[in-house]
Amino acid sequence: MIPAKANQNLQTTKSGRKIRVKNAAIGWSFVIIATVMICLFYFYPMVQALILSFQSGTGTNLTFTGIDNYARLFKDPTFITTVKNTVIYLVIQVPVMILLALFLSVLLNNKTLKLKGVFRTAIFLPCVTSLVAYSVIFKYLFGQDGIINIMLMKVSFISEPIQWLTDPFWAKIAIIIAITWRWTGYNMIFYLSALQNVDESIYEAAKIDGASSFQQFFKITIPMLKPIILFTSITSTIGTLQLFDEVMNITKGGPGNSTMTISQYIYNLSFKYTPDFGYAATVSYAIVIMIIIFSIIQFKVAGDKNE
């Protein structure tokens, strides 16, 4: 009797374990395709790029050259220019866009505002255009005799056309304006939905305490939305560090190399100049490192304010 019962218990635990093992196998089979695909098309190429970054040569004739490529980075004026350009885009465009998006979302969040849906759709509209399409449109808008110069001259804002695309300074400004146009509405939507979760009574209390709209914005809205601001600033940073489509289609990196980004330089090194895949891979690791550094900085900045 007793041994029989013990035997039975043993059997149930055995089959129980079998079921668990089977369940685990089913669970893994759901995630296996995605895992293989991401390893194959993201992580494996990154390892390949790392190996490549220690090699040099043209086309398929590659030889190991140790850290030569990395030493070359610091002496390469084009690389330094592209890093400078990319950082300029980043430190000017991302904060301007985020503040603008926050400001617009606060205005739109007003309960008594009429035509809210119209404004929201209009400001979000740029997000439906493809990067190439809007870049080509902006290229012509900013042309020497483009519509922007025509209009600015009509209202006597300027007396002669601005060299938007042929002056190194104005070309950067044109690119920054274009990116801001495309992405402000996108970020605004995130803030708008976050604002809807903010308790109205906080603002009421602040008003009673005599806080101005300006103070309410900086002392309440921004701290309340911090997590979403952090999220959008990191995605914008990653996006800006990879900037390619706009620059390629608005200025082609010119005049000179004055608007060229790191991504475009990698493209040129691999497919436009005599291909040097090894050095291109080294430059691409520079972007990876910059993304890591900027993300850490943003987390740090956000974290400090928390305390």
């Binding site: 390949q48 400001f103 190439v132 449109i137 390619f244 289609n249 972007i287």
Partner: protein, 274 residues
């Protein structure tokens, strides 16, 4: 709200809306005007649209570019939905410590810039070309494969699955459905809105993607819409009316899709950061 604040709000919002819409208006108006009029800064609609369209069809093969783009975007969307939702479901429903570690590891891929993948991927597909030319350089498969699985979509589906009532799944199992049966018969139909949001995001990014197709597609008859527009835009003697017509055609499908499914689109974006 004080009078001053109200006027201020409305003027800022109107200005922002006008700036946002202006390039669209200019694009649409320009597609109906002659190139000469566009350069003169004409802002009134003309009657030259059909002529621009005919010229466009004569100079470049828009139709096959549209077909290529449609093929790539539709296949990408369908396959991406399948792979990402299976994984998002698997990570959430069959949760375990080791799977969570794997999940976080996969999320790291979101930090990898495409520019860093471009060269090794190009070499990978270059070497595949020699053995299996079906998926090598200059094929639609080569455009689709590297971009079809994204950690973002897996994350998106996992987040949405968190709110899924798991008792329904158990009911399905008791009714004798297999695990795949539970997924396709119960999970997929109930998650329609999540799929809609994910599909729009995927379709739009695929329809608009530029860098990887630029690298991997080489023959002109394989080119996609963004490549065609980029080529038109960089010509030395551009016909503005024709180019703007091409951009209108390229932007319309995505814009229409957006307006039809606007609610899902915004919900989808939000879902990604819940």
């Amino acid at each position: 709200m004080s009078k001053f604040k109200q006027i201020f709000s409305y003027s800022v919002l109107i200005l922002a809306s006008v700036i946002s819409i202006f390039p669209f208006l200019w694009m649409i108006v320009s597609s109906t005007n002659k190139s000469v009029d566009v350069t003169k800064g004409r802002l009134l609609p003309g009657s030259h649209f059909m002529q621009n369209l005919t010229n466009l069809l004569d100079t470049v093969d828009v139709v096959s570019a549209l077909i290529n783009s449609a093929k790539i975007s539709i296949i990408t969307t369908v396959v991406a939905m399948l792979i990402a939702s299976l994984a998002g479901y698997g990570f959430e429903i069959f949760k375990s410590k080791s799977k969570d570690i794997l999940f976080n590891f996969l999320l790291l891929s979101m930090m990898i810039p495409f520019a860093a993948l471009m060269v090794p991927l190009f070499r990978m597909f270059g070497s595949i070309s020699q053995t299996v030319s079906m998926i090598g350089i200059d094929t639609l498969a080569a455009v689709i494969l590297p971009t079809v699985t994204t950690a973002f979509l897996i994350f998106f589906f996992r987040q949405s699955t968190k709110m899924f009532p798991k008792e329904i799944l158990e009911a399905g199992r008791i009714d004798g459905l297999t695990e795949l049966g539970v997924f396709f018969r119960i999970y997929v139909p109930t998650m329609k809105t999540t799929y809609a949001a994910a599909a729009i995001i995927t379709f739009m990014s695929s329809w608009n993607s530029y860098l990887w197709p630029l690298v991997v597609l080489q023959s002109p008859e394989k080119q996609t819409i963004p490549l065609l527009i980029s080529n038109l835009g960089s010509s030395y003697s551009p016909d503005f009316g024709v180019i703007m017509t091409a951009i209108v055609i390229a932007t319309l499908p995505a814009a229409l899709l957006f307006f039809i499914m606007q609610k899902h689109f915004v919900a989808g974006m939000m879902g990604s950061v819940k």
